[in-house]
Symmetry: C2
Subunit: 512 residues, 2 copies
Amino acid sequence: MAESPITARTQDFASWYQDVVLQGDMAEPAEIVKGCMVIKANGYAVWELLQRELDDRFKATGHQNMYFPLLIPQSFMHKEAEHVEGFSPELAVVTMAGGKQLEEPYVIRPTSETIIGHFFAKWIKSWRDLPMLVNQWANIIRWELRTRMFLRTTEFLWQEGHTAHSTHEEAAQEVFRMLDVYAEVAEDVMAMPVIKGLKTQSEKFAGALQTYSIEAMMQNGFALQSGTSHDLGQNFGKAFNVQFQSKEGQLDYVWQTSWGVSTRLVGGLIMSHSDDKGLVLPPKVAPIKAVLVPIYKKKTKVSMKVDPNPSTVGQPVTISGTVMVLPDEEQDEKARVLEVAHRIAKEVDAKVDDREDITPGAKFFHWERRGVPVVLELGPRDLASGSIVLKRRDTGVKEVIPQSEVAAKLPAVLAAMQQSMYDVGKQRLKANTVLANSIEEVESLLKDVTAEKGGGKFVMAHLKDDPRCDARIKEFKATIRCIPLVDEYDGPGKCLVTGEPVDRRVVIAKAY
Amino acid sequence: MAESPITARTQDFASWYQDVVLQGDMAEPAEIVKGCMVIKANGYAVWELLQRELDDRFKATGHQNMYFPLLIPQSFMHKEAEHVEGFSPELAVVTMAGGKQLEEPYVIRPTSETIIGHFFAKWIKSWRDLPMLVNQWANIIRWELRTRMFLRTTEFLWQEGHTAHSTHEEAAQEVFRMLDVYAEVAEDVMAMPVIKGLKTQSEKFAGALQTYSIEAMMQNGFALQSGTSHDLGQNFGKAFNVQFQSKEGQLDYVWQTSWGVSTRLVGGLIMSHSDDKGLVLPPKVAPIKAVLVPIYKKKTKVSMKVDPNPSTVGQPVTISGTVMVLPDEEQDEKARVLEVAHRIAKEVDAKVDDREDITPGAKFFHWERRGVPVVLELGPRDLASGSIVLKRRDTGVKEVIPQSEVAAKLPAVLAAMQQSMYDVGKQRLKANTVLANSIEEVESLLKDVTAEKGGGKFVMAHLKDDPRCDARIKEFKATIRCIPLVDEYDGPGKCLVTGEPVDRRVVIAKAY
């Protein structure tokens, strides 16, 4: 694909994001399938790394992967009243198959609580079958009106954990355990600080008792809900008749949880770290950690001009033009640079970009846009001095170091970059979080904020978990993002809408 | 799930297979979604190992993973004439979405040549963009009439490679390269011998010039097409207008390939190796390589009988019953066994089955059905003698070895088992391959063969790649599986149907 300029963040954040995604080989819109995208090579490789980090943690906490059908009998959606109400508007429906009209249509899974509930009812008979800890990696379809690559697409990839327990207490522990796993991956792996909190009743998952989420702040100050963990209570247990015999011999409905993160995380990653030069990836999720660009003279084009004066026939001719580099010497330089380049690259597990017919400048540009954390440069002068140039993608700082030190230095630079990217994000979150003590203040803080212009804030205010409060905030095209689990502010106060006492401030923001 | 008996292979091979799949925690039918299954924990873990083996090889051969939409505009299917004819009867169609009737329906991908062709046309402009080497891991729907878990299901998981090249020669090399990758994974990883060959024109992929496959023999002598690699020629290039400018400046259509393996491989694995006791997994695809079952005395139930004669009140009573083991002593034995068990398990990366309330016998049974390659037993007598019992799942042979040697011995046993399972399969293939020199002989060799009763053969006969030959063989409910790439038999001969000369024998078999 031809490379085009990237819009500056300050000019139009939304266009900047689209440019970074396209130029970073992350994704492109699949305009022929409504609201869908193609996840391209770099984007998919990042997703694979995230999957590995998540999956290792799911397995370490005792979960097993399974796979359930894509298609769900339409009637299943109706078994849990809130669930069908929440998801009905977004369903894609298969009405024909094998050349025939189906007697009962299938919906493409918008989430799998219903079909998994059906199987839990078959599998769970006794307390000995509990807890049941299942995870699924799958694609999902929700017919969304407004879409944006990675952040909200009609089809997306995700994982959905589904667990069943014998007590509400144990289920609640699971809800928090997985919320913690998500927060850890966001912060330690993606270098993306998050706030853990409870969603309001208006914003919870359709069918849950409670939904908890991690909320991150993008560079335009918008919030991104990056993962959710639901306490489903006995709602689906009752809807699908998932009953077990307790140790005491009594029949009871199981207590369930579900939790998920999706390719949306990749969008969060991009919006958290990238800059006006393109994608910036934290080392832990960078498919290529370091690229080495060797620099050597291009094949010299020798232009020769022979005096065409016919009177010189038989006489010595004058040849003028550029100095001709001997092919041998030229090959020598290239060979020497490449030899050292490959040796160093092998030592430090870097990729050598030895493509022909592409200038070093174009190569730097190429890897910069793809977010490679470190680019190493090695030219003839470096050979002579025994040094190499190391450039960090996040700061753009170049450092000349001895070749003998690069193997020791590179892991330290990558670790420092990972930490520094987190710190920058944490600082941004802090700098753009403000307290508001009246509804007018909330409104004024969010008034001029748009996804394009940025300027978004996390506004901390005392509000009750009451639909009236959610509705009031929606008037400002914002939402209550969550009630933080940890109160970092001033404790109890009076709800700005209802006047009732509440125990802490909530997070209000415009959001994706 | 309650454990039930497994039908013997000789009694009914089809029921045996179903029992092994269910009892091995591999999958179960999802009866509420036509022809679908739930892939359960052990089955999905095997699939993950296969994915890793395949994906590493795809990446090593220069392919990049991407992800394309699940839904394909129906009109795309019609752009390649043979393709639409082949796939139309199997399509699932989405006609409603977001609460509305769609103007143009979408089909759920039955394979992705069409939608990927669309994007290749956008991405490929010049010879510099070639080769384009893409792979996708995805779910697929084909509305099948007769389904069988793993082997043929309405929905299945697979990978589909899609590549574009500037010359037919290079595309053909790719077709064979990936066929070789499949054969290597089948033989070296799955211990499942295969025959590489060309499908007849009647049996090729809808839209390809040529299809190559790997064919394996199941224990009932049925063939299983286990992977395919297609030379698509310029068919999809022309249908989707994928043109590139050659080095010489001319416009030409790209030459494409596609290739895929699916969760069907898991079915092949089960049918190749398992026995009447349940699943048998080759070590390289066994999620758990070894389990250690510790053996110690159960908590002794002390029953006491007190003489109830009222005349004894105030007199010494007689207590009779089983000898009471002192709790301390009992705990000591258990503690000592578990201590050594955990130490050894850690050394050899085995799982300790220290579940309470389950007898060692039930544990052996449990892991046997799940195909764990090696089970180690450690009891009080082994503690005393410093030995441990090692049992191989494939042969059932038990060996008593010194505890000090288990760390060295286990990898050797696993390697030997992997090789031996391949050898057994190779021997079966050889023993059940027969030559036929007349159509009557072919018929008679296949006459009494059924999937249930077994007795299947690979019948090698001279036949032409001609629809008349395919049709003749279909009369025996068999098919020409392939024209082997390597002729291991007697070279040229006369086609048994057309009388025309052909250069080698083809493989004829009943197949899944």
